[in-house]
């Protein structure tokens, strides 16, 4: 049973779930993800692990409510409820070694999955600088947790309501421009990862990104998650989710993310209507 043991609101539309999944917790490594399904009529969606506790047999997922499934998770699943399915850990783990000085960039809800990566990099002996950005202060979370797994934390908001005003790419540009950055990790919206990759490419610094294509099974079977990396078709689920950012065909990835836009809108609308009827 994949019971939700704890549910905590982190920011507007962002929840943290501690879920019972002992087999996943035992095997999990930084950079990996799980596929979850809410109920018997649910779809399978991938979520990158934010944390795990093998002793307690739990995993931590941080989920932003954006579509029907994630909205339903936020509104209808409380502590004590169980998810129908949790499978993982899937994907290849991050390639953690002592690179020297590493910058970890997180955009929005990407703060959660960058956390275990930064922690592993720090444990491996790297000097780790984290940059965390969000649209405004209300969308920031886990800054305390993040500061514990890095040597320096830079925070940005688009509107300047917290930390530095501007986008994450600005401090990133300064850091890689000043030299002495051996590697960059970026996790966040595709557009943010694309621009981080451009910054790093110009500066000649290797960058790793964690891609979030549409998936069905998550085990290499369906090919829905195919992405183009260095001109080659790769599967996000089994070859990734992490790839060198400067080699990713971003426009293709971004286009494919909208493959079911119309259906996603329709599903969310229908869910809202049904919910309204049920509570009326």
């Amino acid at each position: 049973m994949y019971t939700i043991l704890e549910k905590r609101r982190l920011a507007h539309g962002i929840q943290e779930y501690t879920v019972e999944a002992p087999l996943v917790a035992r095997a999990a490594k930084a950079g990996q993800f799980v596929v979850i399904r809410l109920h018997q009529r649910g779809e399978r969606i991938p979520i990158t692990l934010a944390d795990w506790d093998p002793d307690r047999g739990t995993i931590t997922l941080v989920v932003q409510a954006v579509g029907k499934t994630t909205v339903e998770l936020e509104e209808c699943f409380q502590e004590g409820d169980a998810l129908a399915d949790v499978v993982g850990p899937l994907g290849e783990p991050s390639e953690i070694e002592d690179y020297g000085r590493v910058v970890c960039v997180a955009g929005g809800v990407g703060i959660a999955p960058i956390h275990p990566v930064a922690r592993a990099l720090k444990e491996a002996g790297n000097e780790v600088i984290c940059i965390a950005g969000a649209r405004n202060q209300g969308l920031l979370f886990w800054l305390d947790r993040l500061s514990q797994v890095c040597h320096e934390l830079i925070v940005t908001t688009d509107d300047g309501s917290y930390g530095r005003k501007g986008l994450v790419t600005e401090p990133l540009k300064e850091l890689v421009g000043a030299g002495r950055v051996d590697r960059v990790w970026a996790i966040g919206p595709a557009v943010m990862m694309k621009f981080c990759s451009l910054v790093c490419q110009e500066a000649g610094v290797p960058i790793i990104v964690s891609l979030n294509p549409i998936m069905v099974d998550g085990t290499g079977m369906c090919g829905a998650c195919r992405v183009e990396v260095d001109g080659q078709v790769r599967f996000g689920c089994v070859d990734g989710p992490e790839f060198p950012g400067d080699k990713v065909n971003w426009d293709l990835l971004i286009a494919r993310l909208s493959a079911f836009k119309e259906e996603e809108r329709c599903a969310l609308e229908r869910y809202r209507e049904l919910l309204k009827e049920a509570t009326a």
Partner: protein, 464 residues
Amino acid sequence: MIRKTQVPMREQDPRERIHNFQEVPYGYTPEEAIQEAKRCLQCKNAPCIGGCPVEIDIPRFIAHLAEGDFRGAIRVIKESNNLPAICGRVCPQETQCEGVCTLGKKFEPVAIGRLERFVADWERERGVELPPVGEPTGFRVAVVGSGPAGLACAVDLRRFGHAVTMFEALHEPGGVLMYGIPEFRLPKDIVRAEIATLQEMGVELVTNAVVGKTFTVDELLADGYQAVFVGTGAGLPRFLGVPGESLIGVYSANEFLTRVNLMRAYRFPEYDTPIRVGRRVAVVGGGNVAMDAARTALRLGAEEVLVLYRRTEAEMPARREEIRHAREEGVVFHFLVSPVRFLGERGELAGVECIRMELGAPDESGRRRPVPIEGSEFVITIETAVIAIGNQPHPLVPRTTPGLSVTRWGTIQADEEGATSREGVFAGGDIVTGAATVISAMGAGKKAARAIDRYLRERVASRA
């Protein structure tokens, strides 16, 4: 006087069935089944038995059936095959038992598949007799993958008395029987019933367990399983490798069928998984999967469905019945054509450029190799494409099991009985042979079960 033709099986009208996902054939009535069974010559040499990958004693089950003894008939089948309701529906009988039927030399062969299906359905409606489970041996076997190979292996291991745990990566067991073969060809309730029977026999089932990720084969061996059977299948989709294949609207057959079959996208938005199908759909390939995808596209509302196949109808690997069904439903076949690139408009599929082919000298499969005719390119307007040109073996177990030998095609190296290069690790089905049939995978699972039983009793027991 023997009937020259098979007793026909009633089917849903093509004009109606393209609007639903219910099974196409209705199956024989008892009278029809008996009438068809009486066509069997009961020949002494019984070539049909040799034509069956699991060697069902076909004349004997048909003899019971001809006398109206349905229970006797199903008992004979189940001596060799625990999943007859599935095999009766999906086996390529024309190249197996029916292909060598003596009657078939002059007339239509006995409809063995339909008869198998009839007795299996008859039994399911009246209560399935559980196969006897052997005295507990104290040995534990892990079966990795719950498709045809794993299911067949698990049943026989229980018959031998071993404790069996079956691991499945997806949320529902059944493998290709659940995610691949559509409801209108193999109702999922039948697969669920077969799996329920397995569980009643004491097979423990663990879903959401990706062996190679959640745990490895070596961890299973260290965790108290004395043997492991790997039946992880050929689940990795193959693409054409032509430009434009990542446009929105181009699906692998696996994605297309998994969305519809496993995830029930045909009932979106009642079910959460979406699927999009345009007015004009092209399916690339000529096997059963291509037929399944084409017929599924029609049922999802496509106005026109084309099958693009690079050889001719004679070389199509699909079952004859599937081709006939597809044609009756209005699927249009284009032979000797092959896509060279997909064309897009604003990131979405708008057409496919194809080249005409001609058949050249035979290749290693014995079929004449298709050769492109230079300058014969032409464009077809389509909104959806489904690539059904085959699958590759799943690499997860080979990649994470040190010492497990694989071939250059990525299949696991195993002998006739499924023994691999690793002691205690057996394999069978598509992961060994590459993409093949449900029944050959079941046959491999059964053989491996016998080999595992012998291994446990001889090798492991003598060590204790």
